[in-house]
Symmetry: C2
Subunit: 384 residues, 2 copies
């Protein structure tokens, strides 16, 4: 059997529920999220950072949906995980932890700082230490710029190669297009830390039983998944239009689980707006906004057949495969089938760029993936 080896620009890990509580000093540990379910299983009372709210518990269908995405033991165990990766043909991985979903709802800067640090220390011990194939994204507070900067610098010193940022910063902080974040961009550029932004990470309303559900009714499941790409696109748009990437040409952004073909598309649209509305455009950029997007923003996709054409026919070089391990939207269980479909009839150069070249460019410290295995010789020679 032939095997295509790939790196992944998008993978997931699940921390223990009590990570923060176990690692924070008692005074702060008491403020971390706690839930008490009603005896009838309909509602829960959540206490978190001085806030108390009641919320409906998710339906059994919603619970099963989440559990199905967490079935693989490798989501909790970095050693077992390697077996899954080898079987799938996935080598290096950009790994996003899961507890970050609470980040947008903290109120106390000190508490959020402590939780982010605890998450990062835990990741170093439990994931990074296991294999140099794992590129875990460091978690930082986005409640205050200076907290993000200091955690990023600490994380870079510990060997982290990427920092995870949400598609929008904390609700009470200025947005990504403002110059307020320049100290963070400067620190990331200096430390060669990739900004890793995962789709669907806009701040959420924790008081809702299903904070990520924008649509109900016919087509809802497809629409809710499709919708998540827009917040990822907006994050890139803000970093380009606000000038952050222009002022920091060494900064690299990875937008994960967001598809790839939107990059040349959004580049054309931003260029059109920039040129046709020039009288209203501030700041002026020193480079074309599409060129900035196409060169400094990287994209990871799973199944999209158009992603290969975005590379070959639209000049977008920064397309990277991502397995989304072990989530349902991803390729776990069928990675080799997906890779073979994607690259059937495609040149070696294209395949190598998308499966390994882009990842190696972003994360040069990860050892190279094994060479692909050629298909076995046919059982008998075809003499036709």
């Amino acid at each position: 059997m032939s095997k295509i080896w790939t790196n992944s620009g998008d993978s997931h890990f699940l921390e223990p529920d009590d990570l923060w509580e176990a690692r924070l000093p008692k005074r702060l540990a008491e403020l971390t999220p706690k839930s008490e379910k009603d005896p009838d299983g309909e509602y829960e009372t959540v206490r978190f950072d001085g806030q108390t709210f009641r919320r409906k518990l998710p339906t059994s269908a919603a619970v099963k949906f989440v559990e199905d995405s967490r079935k693989a033991e490798g989501i909790r165990d970095a050693r077992l995980r390697l077996g899954d990766l080898d079987a799938e043909g996935v080598w290096g991985e950009v790994i996003f932890p899961s507890l970050g979903m609470w980040s947008s709802s903290f109120r106390t800067p000190e508490l959020l700082r402590a939780c982010m640090r605890a998450s990062n220390e835990w990741a170093l011990e439990e994931i990074v230490a296991v294999s140099d194939r794992y590129v875990v994204t460091a978690q930082v507070s986005t409640l205050q710029v200076e907290d993000a900067v200091s955690e990023l610098e600490w994380a870079a010193a510990q060997g982290f190669q990427a920092v995870s940022l949400p598609t929008r910063p904390h609700k009470s902080a200025p947005d990504w297009n403002t110059a307020d974040w320049d100290p963070l961009w400067q620190a990331a550029e200096r430390a060669s830390m990739v900004l890793a932004i995962h789709s669907g990470t806009d701040p959420i309303d924790l008081t809702s039983a299903s904070p990520n559900i924008a649509y109900r009714g016919p087509g809802g499941a497809v629409m809710n998944y499709t919708e998540t790409t827009f917040s990822g696109q907006r994050a890139a748009m803000k970093l380009v239009a606000g000038g952050a990437l222009d002022r920091h040409p060494g900064l690299k952004v990875l937008i994960s689980e967001n598809g790839a073909t939107w990059i040349p598309f959004l580049g054309d649209r931003m260029r059109e707006g920039y040129r046709q509305h020039h009288m209203a455009v501030r700041p002026k950029l020193t480079r074309d906004p599409k060129d900035i997007l196409m060169t400094q923003v990287y994209a990871s996709f799973q199944h999209d057949e158009s992603a290969v054409a975005a590379y070959e026919a639209m000049g977008y070089r920064n397309v990277m495969f991502g397995s989304d391990y072990p989530h349902m939207e991803g390729t776990f269980g069928h990675t080799q089938d997906t890779l073979k479909e994607l690259f059937d009839g495609v040149s070696d150069e294209t395949r190598r760029r998308i499966t390994r070249g882009v990842f190696e460019e972003l994360f040069p410290r990860v050892p190279p993936a094994p060479e692909d295995t050629a298909p076995e010789a046919p059982a008998f020679e075809d003499r036709s």
Copy 2:
């Protein structure tokens, strides 16, 4: 000089401000929008359909921005317009009237019906009667499904070939993904009326001085223009995921001024969601959601270089040029330059499909555009 002739999937007309007031019976005319500016020019009082509200007047920069988009006399005069079109090399046009921006804020079904009818009668007399190159989109109420159906049927009988729909229906009506709209889809399919949806037409908050401005601060102008594509994408997504296009395979949707490359991209994302989240997907579709999007949804773009590659390399056949005449985002004044850039080195087959073939497929009653003019012979033979 060589000349490339093109049709346009996206053009604009400006009705007289008093169209509704002049054509409606007095009882209803009194309810149409009326504004009274404060003497100091800071605020206005708007009375409209029983609602009265104060709103800040737009800044002089915003007023100038709008005026710059309306400078060409052809936006108000369908005879003068032909001169501009001939000079630009634009033949047939899908034309969107402008008064529709009020539609999402009506409350009285009878009033909205009367205004839509007045707009349509006016368009027949003032635009359609002038040239068979003009495909004016009929306006319909989206406050009540049955009103939309009856106006669409009336409009089809008058010779309209397309109906204009906003990216979302009226705030108090169900959304496009619901089966409530099936009678409208059925009527449109039966009458071969194209559903023409222009980007940026989500319901607006009329009490705001700048209802279309989502972003302020650095990059705001570029971001506000870029953002408008998402509502157009959502409209197509809802029509596919909710099953409308699957149940009505003869229905054709044109999304205008929204770019084109998003179609293969969104198709990949919807297919991924549909397949990977199959356990949660309702309704099941009889065809692949990407195939539905790629075949029944048409897209018009202005400057996007990636649109040509979407046709050639991503199998998306329904890409159409649009001039957006005479708006600033469009190509008025440089249409020939844009066409020559877009199609430099591109095959005749591709150029003809994008400039005329797709439009002819949607609007077979428009006479064909003149043949392109070849470049003049060089002044002397090149003997090198």
